[in-house]
Protein backbone atom coordinates (compact mmCIF):
# COMPACT_ATOMS: atom_id res chain seq x y z
CA UNK A 1 0.00 0.00 0.00
CA UNK A 2 1.57 3.34 -1.03
CA UNK A 3 1.80 6.41 1.21
CA UNK A 4 1.46 9.42 -1.02
CA UNK A 5 3.30 12.66 -0.47
CA UNK A 6 4.53 15.66 -2.35
CA UNK A 7 7.96 17.24 -2.66
CA UNK A 8 8.17 20.86 -3.80
CA UNK A 9 11.41 22.44 -4.89
CA UNK A 10 11.33 26.02 -3.56
CA UNK A 11 14.37 26.87 -5.71
CA UNK A 12 12.27 26.25 -8.82
CA UNK A 13 8.85 27.58 -7.77
CA UNK A 14 8.24 31.04 -9.26
CA UNK A 15 4.74 31.50 -7.82
CA UNK A 16 3.08 31.55 -11.26
CA UNK A 17 -0.24 30.23 -9.86
CA UNK A 18 -0.56 27.62 -12.61
CA UNK A 19 -1.09 24.95 -9.94
CA UNK A 20 -3.87 27.07 -8.41
CA UNK A 21 -5.64 27.51 -11.74
CA UNK A 22 -5.22 23.81 -12.60
CA UNK A 23 -6.74 22.78 -9.25
CA UNK A 24 -9.68 25.15 -9.61
CA UNK A 25 -10.35 23.89 -13.13
CA UNK A 26 -9.88 20.18 -12.43
CA UNK A 27 -11.92 20.17 -9.22
CA UNK A 28 -14.47 22.85 -10.14
CA UNK A 29 -13.60 25.01 -7.12
CA UNK A 30 -16.06 27.91 -6.68
CA UNK A 31 -14.92 31.48 -7.21
CA UNK A 32 -13.32 32.99 -4.09
CA UNK A 33 -12.18 29.63 -2.67
CA UNK A 34 -8.82 27.86 -2.91
CA UNK A 35 -7.67 24.31 -2.29
CA UNK A 36 -4.10 25.39 -3.03
CA UNK A 37 -2.36 28.74 -2.94
CA UNK A 38 1.01 30.48 -3.21
CA UNK A 39 2.95 31.69 -0.18
CA UNK A 40 5.88 34.06 -0.36
CA UNK A 41 8.03 34.19 2.75
CA UNK A 42 10.92 36.58 3.16
CA UNK A 43 13.17 36.83 6.15
CA UNK A 44 16.65 37.95 7.10
CA UNK A 45 18.57 41.21 7.34
CA UNK A 46 19.76 43.14 4.32
CA UNK A 47 21.85 42.17 2.39
CA UNK A 48 21.37 38.59 3.61
CA UNK A 49 17.65 38.41 2.81
CA UNK A 50 16.12 35.03 1.98
CA UNK A 51 13.02 34.66 -0.17
CA UNK A 52 11.06 31.43 -0.44
CA UNK A 53 8.13 30.96 -2.80
CA UNK A 54 6.11 27.84 -2.31
CA UNK A 55 2.80 26.32 -3.33
CA UNK A 56 0.75 25.11 -0.36
CA UNK A 57 -2.28 22.88 0.20
CA UNK A 58 -3.56 20.30 2.71
CA UNK A 59 -0.50 18.47 4.04
CA UNK A 60 -2.26 15.07 4.18
CA UNK A 61 -0.65 14.65 7.60
CA UNK A 62 0.09 11.28 9.17
CA UNK A 63 -1.19 12.56 12.51
CA UNK A 64 -4.54 14.09 11.55
CA UNK A 65 -6.37 16.33 14.04
CA UNK A 66 -9.00 16.98 11.35
CA UNK A 67 -9.87 13.26 11.21
CA UNK A 68 -9.77 12.76 14.99
CA UNK A 69 -12.18 15.60 15.73
CA UNK A 70 -14.76 14.72 13.06
CA UNK A 71 -17.97 13.60 14.84
CA UNK A 72 -19.38 11.63 11.91
CA UNK A 73 -16.33 10.02 10.33
CA UNK A 74 -16.76 12.17 7.19
CA UNK A 75 -13.10 13.23 7.46
CA UNK A 76 -11.14 10.07 6.95
CA UNK A 77 -7.87 8.59 5.75
CA UNK A 78 -8.43 6.94 2.40
CA UNK A 79 -7.50 3.25 2.14
CA UNK A 80 -5.49 4.01 -0.97
CA UNK A 81 -2.32 6.02 -0.34
CA UNK A 82 -3.15 7.43 3.10
CA UNK A 83 -4.75 10.50 1.51
CA UNK A 84 -6.95 12.59 3.84
CA UNK A 85 -10.42 13.03 2.33
CA UNK A 86 -13.91 14.30 3.24
CA UNK A 87 -17.03 12.28 2.44
CA UNK A 88 -19.43 15.05 1.39
CA UNK A 89 -22.50 12.92 2.11
CA UNK A 90 -21.43 12.37 5.72
CA UNK A 91 -20.23 15.89 6.54
CA UNK A 92 -22.65 17.93 8.69
CA UNK A 93 -20.68 21.18 8.31
CA UNK A 94 -19.79 21.52 12.01
CA UNK A 95 -16.47 23.15 11.03
CA UNK A 96 -14.50 21.32 13.73
CA UNK A 97 -12.04 20.03 11.11
CA UNK A 98 -11.56 23.54 9.69
CA UNK A 99 -10.77 24.81 13.20
CA UNK A 100 -8.49 21.89 14.03
CA UNK A 101 -6.13 22.28 11.04
CA UNK A 102 -3.00 24.27 12.01
CA UNK A 103 -2.46 25.08 8.31
CA UNK A 104 -5.99 26.46 7.79
CA UNK A 105 -6.08 24.29 4.69
CA UNK A 106 -9.81 23.60 4.83
CA UNK A 107 -12.82 25.72 4.04
CA UNK A 108 -16.58 25.32 3.91
CA UNK A 109 -17.77 24.81 0.34
CA UNK A 110 -20.80 26.95 -0.61
CA UNK A 111 -22.76 23.66 -0.77
CA UNK A 112 -22.15 23.26 2.99
CA UNK A 113 -19.53 20.54 3.37
CA UNK A 114 -15.88 20.87 4.43
CA UNK A 115 -13.57 20.91 1.44
CA UNK A 116 -9.83 20.66 0.80
CA UNK A 117 -7.14 19.24 -1.47
CA UNK A 118 -7.64 15.55 -2.33
CA UNK A 119 -4.27 15.05 -4.04
CA UNK A 120 -6.61 14.61 -7.06
CA UNK A 121 -7.21 11.05 -5.90
CA UNK A 122 -9.63 10.51 -8.80
CA UNK A 123 -6.68 11.05 -11.19
CA UNK A 124 -4.10 9.24 -9.05
CA UNK A 125 -6.26 6.11 -8.90
CA UNK A 126 -6.15 6.07 -12.70
CA UNK A 127 -2.37 6.30 -12.74
CA UNK A 128 -2.19 10.05 -13.44
CA UNK A 129 -0.51 12.80 -11.42
CA UNK A 130 -2.47 15.43 -9.47
CA UNK A 131 -3.52 18.33 -11.74
CA UNK A 132 -1.22 20.84 -10.00
CA UNK A 133 1.83 18.61 -10.50
CA UNK A 134 0.89 17.92 -14.12
CA UNK A 135 0.80 21.57 -15.16
CA UNK A 136 3.77 23.01 -13.23
CA UNK A 137 5.88 24.78 -15.88
CA UNK A 138 9.10 24.70 -13.80
CA UNK A 139 8.70 21.05 -12.73
CA UNK A 140 9.06 22.11 -9.12
CA UNK A 141 6.38 19.69 -7.89
CA UNK A 142 6.91 15.96 -7.42
CA UNK A 143 4.33 13.41 -6.33
CA UNK A 144 4.78 9.80 -5.33
CA UNK A 145 5.06 7.04 -2.75
CA UNK A 146 7.05 8.10 0.30
CA UNK A 147 7.34 4.48 1.46
CA UNK A 148 9.05 3.38 -1.78
CA UNK A 149 12.79 4.10 -1.40
CA UNK A 150 13.18 4.14 -5.19
CA UNK A 151 10.44 6.69 -5.85
CA UNK A 152 11.39 10.14 -7.11
CA UNK A 153 10.05 11.79 -3.94
CA UNK A 154 12.03 9.49 -1.61
CA UNK A 155 15.23 10.05 -3.58
CA UNK A 156 14.80 13.82 -3.54
CA UNK A 157 14.26 13.75 0.20
CA UNK A 158 17.41 11.64 0.61
CA UNK A 159 19.57 13.88 -1.53
CA UNK A 160 18.39 17.42 -0.72
CA UNK A 161 17.76 19.54 2.36
CA UNK A 162 14.08 20.00 3.12
CA UNK A 163 11.60 21.33 5.64
CA UNK A 164 7.93 20.86 6.41
CA UNK A 165 5.48 23.53 7.50
CA UNK A 166 4.91 24.01 11.24
CA UNK A 167 6.73 20.86 12.41
CA UNK A 168 6.10 21.91 16.05
CA UNK A 169 2.37 21.36 15.57
CA UNK A 170 3.16 17.63 15.56
CA UNK A 171 0.94 16.69 12.66
CA UNK A 172 3.67 14.92 10.63
CA UNK A 173 2.85 16.56 7.30
CA UNK A 174 3.48 14.69 4.05
CA UNK A 175 4.35 17.70 1.92
CA UNK A 176 8.05 18.52 1.92
CA UNK A 177 9.79 21.67 0.70
CA UNK A 178 13.27 21.37 -0.78
CA UNK A 179 15.53 24.26 0.21
Amino acid sequence: MPRYGMVIDTHKCVGCNDCVVACKTENNIPEGYNRDWIVTESHGKYPAVHLEIRTERCNHCSNTPCVSCCPTGASHIHDFGGVVLVDHEMCIGCKACVESCPYDARFIHPDGYADKCTFCIHRVEQGMKPACVEVCPTYCMHFGDLDDPNSEVSQLLNSRKWHVNLPDAGTEPNIFYLT
Binding site: G32, C91, E99, S100, D104
Partner: protein
Protein backbone atom coordinates in the same frame (compact mmCIF):
# COMPACT_ATOMS: atom_id res chain seq x y z
CA UNK B 1 20.10 50.16 11.83
CA UNK B 2 18.27 47.79 9.52
CA UNK B 3 15.89 45.50 11.31
CA UNK B 4 15.18 41.86 10.57
CA UNK B 5 12.62 41.33 7.82
CA UNK B 6 9.99 38.68 8.42
CA UNK B 7 7.12 38.74 5.98
CA UNK B 8 4.67 36.20 4.71
CA UNK B 9 2.12 36.83 2.01
CA UNK B 10 -0.43 34.40 0.62
CA UNK B 11 -2.77 34.30 -2.33
CA UNK B 12 -5.32 32.34 -0.27
CA UNK B 13 -8.45 34.22 0.73
CA UNK B 14 -10.93 31.58 1.81
CA UNK B 15 -14.04 33.06 3.48
CA UNK B 16 -14.01 32.94 7.32
CA UNK B 17 -10.48 31.45 7.22
CA UNK B 18 -8.41 34.42 6.05
CA UNK B 19 -6.98 36.71 7.28
CA UNK B 20 -7.74 35.00 10.59
CA UNK B 21 -10.00 32.12 11.50
CA UNK B 22 -13.58 33.20 12.22
CA UNK B 23 -15.41 30.02 11.27
CA UNK B 24 -17.38 29.78 14.51
CA UNK B 25 -19.55 32.82 15.05
CA UNK B 26 -22.12 33.67 17.77
CA UNK B 27 -23.84 30.28 17.73
CA UNK B 28 -20.96 28.34 19.29
CA UNK B 29 -20.29 30.64 22.29
CA UNK B 30 -24.05 30.83 22.95
CA UNK B 31 -24.28 27.03 22.87
CA UNK B 32 -21.19 26.62 25.07
CA UNK B 33 -22.64 29.08 27.58
CA UNK B 34 -26.13 27.57 27.68
CA UNK B 35 -24.69 24.03 27.78
CA UNK B 36 -22.38 25.02 30.65
CA UNK B 37 -25.14 26.77 32.58
CA UNK B 38 -27.51 23.81 32.16
CA UNK B 39 -24.69 21.53 33.33
CA UNK B 40 -24.39 23.66 36.47
CA UNK B 41 -28.16 23.63 36.98
CA UNK B 42 -28.22 19.82 36.69
CA UNK B 43 -25.45 19.50 39.29
CA UNK B 44 -27.21 21.88 41.70
CA UNK B 45 -30.62 20.28 41.19
CA UNK B 46 -29.08 16.80 41.45
CA UNK B 47 -27.36 17.76 44.69
CA UNK B 48 -30.65 19.03 46.15
CA UNK B 49 -32.33 15.72 45.29
CA UNK B 50 -29.39 13.72 46.64
CA UNK B 51 -29.19 15.67 49.90
CA UNK B 52 -32.95 15.49 50.59
CA UNK B 53 -33.67 19.19 50.13
CA UNK B 54 -36.47 18.22 47.74
CA UNK B 55 -38.61 17.46 50.78
CA UNK B 56 -39.13 21.22 51.13
CA UNK B 57 -42.16 22.21 49.07
CA UNK B 58 -40.60 25.21 47.34
CA UNK B 59 -37.25 23.60 46.49
CA UNK B 60 -35.73 25.05 43.32
CA UNK B 61 -34.91 21.51 42.18
CA UNK B 62 -38.49 21.26 40.91
CA UNK B 63 -38.44 24.39 38.76
CA UNK B 64 -34.92 24.42 37.32
CA UNK B 65 -35.08 21.12 35.37
CA UNK B 66 -37.77 22.52 33.06
CA UNK B 67 -35.79 25.75 32.59
CA UNK B 68 -32.77 23.54 31.86
CA UNK B 69 -34.66 21.70 29.10
CA UNK B 70 -35.69 25.03 27.53
CA UNK B 71 -32.18 26.53 27.76
CA UNK B 72 -30.45 23.38 26.50
CA UNK B 73 -32.86 23.13 23.58
CA UNK B 74 -32.18 26.79 22.74
CA UNK B 75 -28.45 26.04 22.86
CA UNK B 76 -28.85 23.00 20.62
CA UNK B 77 -30.87 25.09 18.21
CA UNK B 78 -27.99 27.60 18.09
CA UNK B 79 -25.65 24.67 17.39
CA UNK B 80 -27.97 23.50 14.61
CA UNK B 81 -27.96 27.00 13.10
CA UNK B 82 -24.16 26.84 12.99
CA UNK B 83 -24.14 23.68 10.85
CA UNK B 84 -23.55 24.46 7.20
CA UNK B 85 -24.80 21.05 5.97
CA UNK B 86 -27.97 21.00 8.08
CA UNK B 87 -29.87 18.24 6.28
CA UNK B 88 -27.14 15.77 7.25
CA UNK B 89 -27.33 16.46 11.02
CA UNK B 90 -28.73 12.94 11.62
CA UNK B 91 -25.32 11.57 10.66
CA UNK B 92 -24.18 12.45 14.20
CA UNK B 93 -26.30 9.61 15.50
CA UNK B 94 -25.35 6.91 13.02
CA UNK B 95 -21.86 6.56 14.50
CA UNK B 96 -19.77 7.05 17.62
CA UNK B 97 -16.29 8.45 17.00
CA UNK B 98 -14.21 7.60 20.05
CA UNK B 99 -11.59 10.33 19.50
CA UNK B 100 -14.03 13.11 18.63
CA UNK B 101 -15.19 15.30 21.57
CA UNK B 102 -18.08 16.52 19.40
CA UNK B 103 -19.28 12.94 18.93
CA UNK B 104 -19.05 12.41 22.70
CA UNK B 105 -21.02 15.64 23.16
CA UNK B 106 -23.76 14.59 20.75
CA UNK B 107 -24.31 11.35 22.68
CA UNK B 108 -24.01 13.05 26.10
CA UNK B 109 -26.84 15.37 25.03
CA UNK B 110 -28.97 12.28 24.34
CA UNK B 111 -28.30 11.09 27.92
CA UNK B 112 -28.95 14.49 29.48
CA UNK B 113 -32.56 14.83 28.35
CA UNK B 114 -33.90 11.66 30.05
CA UNK B 115 -32.10 12.66 33.28
CA UNK B 116 -33.74 16.11 33.16
CA UNK B 117 -37.16 14.62 32.34
CA UNK B 118 -36.82 12.16 35.27
CA UNK B 119 -36.10 15.17 37.50
CA UNK B 120 -39.17 17.01 36.18
CA UNK B 121 -41.36 13.93 36.79
CA UNK B 122 -40.60 13.91 40.54
CA UNK B 123 -42.86 16.92 40.93
CA UNK B 124 -44.23 18.31 37.65
CA UNK B 125 -45.73 21.81 37.53
CA UNK B 126 -49.49 22.27 37.68
CA UNK B 127 -49.71 23.30 34.04
CA UNK B 128 -47.95 20.08 33.04
CA UNK B 129 -50.40 17.97 35.06
CA UNK B 130 -53.32 19.84 33.44
CA UNK B 131 -51.82 19.05 30.06
CA UNK B 132 -51.01 15.39 30.84
CA UNK B 133 -53.04 14.17 33.90
CA UNK B 134 -51.10 10.88 34.08
CA UNK B 135 -48.02 12.81 35.23
CA UNK B 136 -49.60 13.10 38.66
CA UNK B 137 -49.76 9.29 39.03
CA UNK B 138 -46.15 8.90 37.85
CA UNK B 139 -45.04 11.60 40.28
CA UNK B 140 -46.81 9.90 43.20
CA UNK B 141 -45.16 6.58 42.36
CA UNK B 142 -41.68 8.14 42.18
CA UNK B 143 -42.22 10.04 45.46
CA UNK B 144 -42.71 6.76 47.31
CA UNK B 145 -39.17 5.63 46.42
CA UNK B 146 -36.58 7.82 48.10
CA UNK B 147 -33.73 5.74 46.74
CA UNK B 148 -35.01 6.36 43.23
CA UNK B 149 -35.05 10.13 43.88
CA UNK B 150 -31.48 9.97 45.20
CA UNK B 151 -30.44 8.04 42.09
CA UNK B 152 -32.09 10.61 39.81
CA UNK B 153 -30.06 13.21 41.74
CA UNK B 154 -26.83 11.25 41.20
CA UNK B 155 -27.66 10.83 37.50
CA UNK B 156 -28.25 14.57 37.10
CA UNK B 157 -24.97 15.43 38.86
CA UNK B 158 -23.05 12.88 36.76
CA UNK B 159 -24.48 13.89 33.38
CA UNK B 160 -24.26 17.57 34.36
CA UNK B 161 -20.54 17.17 35.01
CA UNK B 162 -20.06 15.34 31.71
CA UNK B 163 -21.95 18.06 29.83
CA UNK B 164 -20.04 20.90 31.51
CA UNK B 165 -16.65 19.26 31.04
CA UNK B 166 -17.21 18.34 27.40
CA UNK B 167 -17.85 21.97 26.38
CA UNK B 168 -14.27 22.76 27.44
CA UNK B 169 -12.70 19.56 26.10
CA UNK B 170 -14.27 20.31 22.70
CA UNK B 171 -11.97 23.33 22.37
CA UNK B 172 -8.90 22.21 24.30
CA UNK B 173 -8.24 19.21 22.03
CA UNK B 174 -7.57 21.46 19.05
CA UNK B 175 -3.81 21.66 18.67
CA UNK B 176 -4.22 24.27 15.94
CA UNK B 177 -5.50 26.99 18.33
CA UNK B 178 -2.81 27.57 20.97
CA UNK B 179 -5.03 29.56 23.36
CA UNK B 180 -7.28 26.53 23.79
CA UNK B 181 -4.38 24.11 24.40
CA UNK B 182 -4.87 23.81 28.13
CA UNK B 183 -6.17 20.84 30.05
CA UNK B 184 -7.68 23.38 32.48
CA UNK B 185 -10.14 24.79 29.96
CA UNK B 186 -12.81 22.24 30.87
CA UNK B 187 -12.35 23.09 34.56
CA UNK B 188 -12.81 26.78 33.75
CA UNK B 189 -15.95 26.12 31.70
CA UNK B 190 -17.39 23.74 34.32
CA UNK B 191 -16.81 26.19 37.18
CA UNK B 192 -18.11 29.08 35.11
CA UNK B 193 -21.21 27.01 34.27
CA UNK B 194 -21.72 26.19 37.96
CA UNK B 195 -21.28 29.84 38.85
CA UNK B 196 -23.84 31.02 36.26
CA UNK B 197 -26.26 28.28 37.39
CA UNK B 198 -25.83 29.22 41.07
CA UNK B 199 -26.43 32.86 40.15
CA UNK B 200 -29.60 31.89 38.28
CA UNK B 201 -30.96 29.78 41.15
CA UNK B 202 -30.03 32.54 43.62
CA UNK B 203 -32.06 34.88 41.42
CA UNK B 204 -35.20 32.72 41.11
CA UNK B 205 -35.23 30.64 44.32
CA UNK B 206 -38.41 31.09 46.40
CA UNK B 207 -36.87 29.49 49.44
CA UNK B 208 -34.79 32.15 51.27
CA UNK B 209 -32.38 29.66 52.84
CA UNK B 210 -31.78 28.14 49.44
CA UNK B 211 -31.16 31.53 47.86
CA UNK B 212 -28.66 32.37 50.62
CA UNK B 213 -26.95 28.98 50.19
CA UNK B 214 -26.60 29.49 46.44
CA UNK B 215 -25.20 33.01 46.91
CA UNK B 216 -22.52 31.54 49.22
CA UNK B 217 -21.86 28.71 46.77
CA UNK B 218 -21.57 31.20 43.92
CA UNK B 219 -18.93 33.13 45.86
CA UNK B 220 -16.96 29.90 46.16
CA UNK B 221 -17.35 29.18 42.44
CA UNK B 222 -16.23 32.71 41.52
CA UNK B 223 -13.08 32.36 43.68
CA UNK B 224 -12.33 28.97 42.08
CA UNK B 225 -12.91 30.51 38.64
CA UNK B 226 -10.38 33.28 39.36
CA UNK B 227 -7.91 30.68 40.64
CA UNK B 228 -8.48 28.54 37.50
CA UNK B 229 -7.78 31.58 35.30
CA UNK B 230 -4.47 32.14 37.12
CA UNK B 231 -3.50 28.47 36.74
CA UNK B 232 -4.55 28.38 33.08
CA UNK B 233 -2.54 31.52 32.30
CA UNK B 234 0.49 30.23 34.23
CA UNK B 235 0.37 26.97 32.28
CA UNK B 236 0.25 28.73 28.91
CA UNK B 237 2.85 31.33 29.93
CA UNK B 238 5.29 28.53 30.74
CA UNK B 239 4.64 26.72 27.48
CA UNK B 240 6.01 27.35 23.96
CA UNK B 241 6.38 30.81 22.38
CA UNK B 242 3.24 30.07 20.36
CA UNK B 243 1.22 29.56 23.55
CA UNK B 244 2.77 32.57 25.27
CA UNK B 245 1.79 34.76 22.31
CA UNK B 246 -1.71 33.26 22.43
CA UNK B 247 -2.30 34.03 26.10
CA UNK B 248 -0.99 37.59 25.61
CA UNK B 249 -3.97 38.16 23.32
CA UNK B 250 -6.00 38.21 26.55
CA UNK B 251 -3.41 39.78 28.86
CA UNK B 252 -2.53 42.87 26.83
CA UNK B 253 -3.55 42.10 23.24
CA UNK B 254 -6.59 43.04 21.17
CA UNK B 255 -8.96 41.03 23.37
CA UNK B 256 -7.56 42.39 26.67
CA UNK B 257 -9.95 45.35 27.24
CA UNK B 258 -13.07 43.17 26.86
CA UNK B 259 -11.52 40.36 28.88
CA UNK B 260 -10.39 42.45 31.85
CA UNK B 261 -13.42 44.76 31.97
CA UNK B 262 -16.31 42.41 31.18
CA UNK B 263 -15.09 38.96 32.21
CA UNK B 264 -12.79 39.61 35.18
CA UNK B 265 -14.05 42.87 36.70
CA UNK B 266 -17.78 43.02 35.85
CA UNK B 267 -18.24 39.25 35.55
CA UNK B 268 -16.28 38.00 38.58
CA UNK B 269 -14.61 40.53 40.92
CA UNK B 270 -17.38 43.13 41.38
CA UNK B 271 -20.26 40.61 41.75
CA UNK B 272 -18.06 38.64 44.15
CA UNK B 273 -17.57 41.75 46.33
CA UNK B 274 -21.31 42.55 46.18
CA UNK B 275 -22.29 38.98 47.11
CA UNK B 276 -19.70 38.76 49.90
CA UNK B 277 -21.24 41.90 51.42
CA UNK B 278 -24.74 40.47 50.91
CA UNK B 279 -24.06 37.10 52.55
CA UNK B 280 -22.46 38.87 55.52
CA UNK B 281 -25.69 40.93 55.79
CA UNK B 282 -23.97 44.28 55.20
CA UNK B 283 -26.13 44.97 52.15
CA UNK B 284 -29.36 43.46 50.80
CA UNK B 285 -29.43 40.77 48.13
CA UNK B 286 -30.28 42.31 44.74
CA UNK B 287 -30.51 40.80 41.25
CA UNK B 288 -27.53 42.93 40.12
CA UNK B 289 -24.71 40.56 41.14
CA UNK B 290 -26.29 37.35 39.74
CA UNK B 291 -27.11 39.10 36.44
CA UNK B 292 -23.49 40.32 36.21
CA UNK B 293 -22.23 36.78 36.84
CA UNK B 294 -24.49 35.32 34.14
CA UNK B 295 -23.49 38.00 31.61
CA UNK B 296 -19.82 37.49 32.52
CA UNK B 297 -20.17 33.76 31.79
CA UNK B 298 -21.65 34.49 28.36
CA UNK B 299 -18.94 37.03 27.48
CA UNK B 300 -16.27 34.58 28.69
CA UNK B 301 -17.40 32.05 26.06
CA UNK B 302 -17.40 34.73 23.34
CA UNK B 303 -13.87 35.87 24.30
CA UNK B 304 -12.42 32.37 24.54
CA UNK B 305 -13.94 31.29 21.20
CA UNK B 306 -12.93 34.50 19.36
CA UNK B 307 -9.42 34.89 20.82
CA UNK B 308 -8.81 31.14 20.48
CA UNK B 309 -9.67 31.22 16.78
CA UNK B 310 -7.42 34.27 16.35
CA UNK B 311 -4.48 32.54 18.08
CA UNK B 312 -2.40 30.65 15.58
CA UNK B 313 0.83 28.78 14.94
CA UNK B 314 1.55 30.91 11.88
CA UNK B 315 1.36 34.16 13.85
CA UNK B 316 3.97 32.82 16.23
CA UNK B 317 6.00 31.43 13.34
CA UNK B 318 6.37 34.95 11.97
CA UNK B 319 7.38 36.59 15.24
Amino acid sequence: MISQIIELSTTRHNPHVDPSMAMWEWQIPVYLFLGGMVAGMMIISGYFLFSGRHKESNCACFSIPFTSVVLLSAGMFALFLDLSHKLYVWRLYTTFQLKSPMSWGAWILILVYPALIANILIRPSQWMIKLIPNLSTISQKISKHHILIRNIGILNMLFGMMLGAYTGVLLSTMVSRPLWNSALLWVLFLVSGLSAAAAYVHLVAKNKAESELLAKADNGFLVIELFTFVMLFLGLLNSSKTHIDAVYLLIDGPFAPTFWVFVIMLGIVIPLIIQLLAVSHKIKHTPIAPIMVIMGGLILRFIIVSAGQYSHWFNAHLK
